[in-house]
């Protein structure tokens, strides 16, 4: 176990290093630099000083070394575009907004998706089944953008139930201003509904055909008990594998949803930073989001071993 943990930890650090390196050189490959637009109008001396201030006058390899050193101590530097804005501050201000929205989306999406999945599997071959499948194909193939605009038109424009865009300023970060979160939450949860409904339905149909369900039936158990104790429990293994990935994805925010609804989350800022070639912010966000993914994947692995005893015992999954 100890050896396994150390190996995994080394792998995680190596992955992060590769991601940071790739990000750095990809950004270098982009023509221009974050200051060029502003610097064009300045006099040569001021321009030189500006480049010196941000360290852009140094050769590429030296900047690479400095960036990597910064990452090691958790200092990603200041924004090239907004003076005084740091990556740490950004995470502090914007991550909770994205995380709250994301968690609401996942919770709603997974709960509704699983219920629909159960319905489709239990009522297999009926109208209900076909409706669920049609719905999930629709939800997964139509982009967020369309749903977002549609919801805004109906619930904010026509019915005026919820605000069209925006985010409550200064209110309780986690629970205040819920009316602002309704439409973005709905927009975002559709993908999860579709994913989890299909995932659970497929898994349940697989389990329903297993011999042990026949055994359960031959015991004269009630249908409800067979579904609850024998089918659902075994069908949940793929769901539990998928769930941590969804949570990791949702916390980092959605570019589209935050843009459509003007939400000051981390996802929207990420895109803005890329557009501005804000090197330090891009690097900082990339590394931190990547680190979150890697950690979640690691937790998933541990969960898997904990949930299904067969895996650790026999070394193979069913």
């Amino acid at each position: 176990m100890g050896k396994f943990l150390i190996r995994r930890l080394a792998e995680m650090i190596l992955t992060l290093f590769l991601i940071a390196t790739a990000t750095f050189f990809l950004l270098e490959a982009v023509p221009g630099d974050p200051l060029s637009e502003r610097a064009d109008k300045l006099s040569p001396t001021v321009k030189e000083n500006l480049y010196k201030k941000y360290g852009l006058d140094k050769p590429m390899m030296e900047r690479y070394a400095l960036t990597m050193k910064g990452i090691c101590v958790g200092d990603f530097g200041e924004s090239f575009v907004y003076a005084g804005q740091t990556v740490g501050g950004l995470i502090h201000d914007r991550l909770p907004v994205s995380a709250r929205l994301g968690l609401q989306q996942v919770t709603l999406g997974v709960v509704v998706g699983l219920l629909l999945g159960i319905l489709a599997a239990v009522k297999r071959g009926t109208i209900a089944d076909y409706l669920v499948i049609a719905l999930s194909v629709l939800l997964i193939s139509v982009p967020h953008l369309i749903f977002g605009l549609l919801l805004q038109k109906v619930f904010a424009g026509n019915l005026q139930w919820f605000p069209t865009i925006g985010w409550p300023a200064g209110k309780d970060l986690w629970f205040g201003g819920w009316e602002y979160t309704v439409l973005p939450t709905l927009t975002g949860c559709f993908t999860y509904i579709a994913t989890y409904a299909r995932l659970l339905k497929t898994s349940m149909l697989d389990v329903i055909n297993q011999d042990y369900v026949l055994t359960a039936e031959s015991k004269g158990l009630s249908r409800a008990r067979i579904i609850r104790k024998h089918i659902l429990r075994n069908s949940f293994i793929p769901v539990i594998t998928q769930l941590p990935m969804s949570i990791a994805m949702c916390i980092t925010g959605s570019f589209f949803i935050e843009s459509i609804f003007s939400i000051p989350g981390i996802g929207q800022y990420y895109v803005t930073a890329v557009n501005n070639q804000d090197l330090s912010i891009i690097m900082g966000e990339t590394v931190i989001l990547a680190a979150m993914y890697i950690i979640v994947l690691f937790i998933t692995d541990l969960l898997y071993v904990a949930i299904d005893p067969r895996i650790s015992m026999t070394g193979k999954s069913r």
Binding site: E217, S218, G220, R225, R233
Partner: protein, 341 residues
């Protein structure tokens, strides 16, 4: 055995499966009866409908794919179980009739402790509290010869060996003292030494509880070990039935002859090749009008291809469906194996 009312009577059972290719007529009119405390073996090769027959008796044929035809009857103590309502089914399954499947690993829920899988049955049928059921589950495991049952009840199926898993299945099946036990190839997945042990356990419990057993198998060795009566099934029909002695020593149907001859024997010359039955059984999507065995039978006559033979009664419950026993047919004796005896 004196004449008594049979506990189970299957009359003209016909079961079909609806597939994309069409209607597969898996069981095409099976009739037999099972007496109290008796062990009946249903033998036949793969796909002859023996498992489907077993599932029908257990009420496990699922619509819409599976269909038990209207005029079929399965009488348990005189009542047709095919007309049971939900509550009667619940009581019958597991309580009156239990089943053991071939693959014990696949037949046990991998994420439920084995004790719980036995307790489920007990709590559903015997109105036991959780505590009583737990105690009883330990007793059941002890009864089927699982060492350290107190510890084993809390383990999962993957922590058991193949033979031990089949013992757990037996414990589940016998938990509520069923009147009928159906064993669907219970020893096929096990090696020979374990096979013997499992059969002994089933035999022991059968004798102790007076259970009637239907043993479904393709292994004539298993049959000889456990059954009093045998029904030989071929492509959805019973072609011959009778007592164990009748079938083994006085078989009347060419398929039974071929079946008995293809059992490996130790008393033959070493180099002699194992006898096999050439050809394959007919396609049940499109069953033949005549005797289903006619294409593989060495004694096939023109009539065999046209009409299904009626069963000829030889007394003492021994019957075979073959045109050779028609008064007008030529006399044919069962061929004797070369080099034997």
């Amino acid at each position: 055995m004196s004449e008594q009312k049979p506990i189970l009577e299957v009359k003209n059972l016909r079961v079909s499966y609806h597939t994309y290719a069409g209607e597969v007529k898996s069981v095409r009119g099976v009739t037999f009866s099972l007496n109290k405390g008796e062990a009946l073996a249903i033998v036949g090769e793969s796909g002859c409908g023996k498992s489907v027959t077993a599932k029908s008796i257990m009420g496990l044929i699922k619509a819409p794919q599976g269909e038990i035809k209207k005029d079929s009857e399965i009488l348990y103590n005189g009542t047709n179980i095919l007309n049971y309502d939900k509550k009667q089914w619940k009581n019958y399954k597991g309580g009156e009739c239990a089943i053991i499947f071939q693959d014990a690993l696949a037949s046990l829920n991998p994420t439920m402790r084995v004790g719980k899988q036995i307790m489920e049955n007990l709590m559903g049928h015997k109105n036991m509290t959780k505590k009583e059921a737990q105690k009883e589950a330990v007793e059941m495991l002890r009864l089927v010869g699982i060492p350290e049952p107190e510890k084993r009840v809390r383990q999962y199926p993957h922590e058991f060996s193949g033979g031990m898993r089949q013992r757990v299945m037996i414990a589940i099946a016998f938990a509520c003292d069923p009147k009928i036990l159906i064993c669907d190839e219970p020893t096929t997945a096990l090696d020979v030494t374990i096979q013997g042990q499992i059969l002994d356990i089933i035999k022991g419990l059968q004798r102790k509880n007076g259970t009637s057993v239907i043993m479904i198998t393709h292994d004539l060795g298993v049959v000889a070990n456990i059954a009093q009566r045998i029904a030989v099934m071929y492509s959805g029909v019973i072609v011959e039935s009778g007592t164990c002695e009748d079938i083994f020593y006085r078989p009347r149907h060419p398929y039974t002859w071929a079946l008995i001859q293809s059992v490996p024997r130790l008393d033959l010359e070493n180099k002699q090749e194992l006898a096999t039955i050439p050809g394959t059984p007919p396609d049940l999507l499109n069953p033949p009008a005549g005797c289903p065995f006619c294409t593989r039978c060495s004694y096939c006559m023109p009539i065999c291809k046209e009409e299904m033979p009626e069963a000829t009664d030889f007394g003492n419950g021994h019957a075979a469906s073959c045109w050779l026993h028609h008064p007008m047919a030529p006399k044919v004796e069962m061929p004797v194996l070369k080099g034997g005896e």
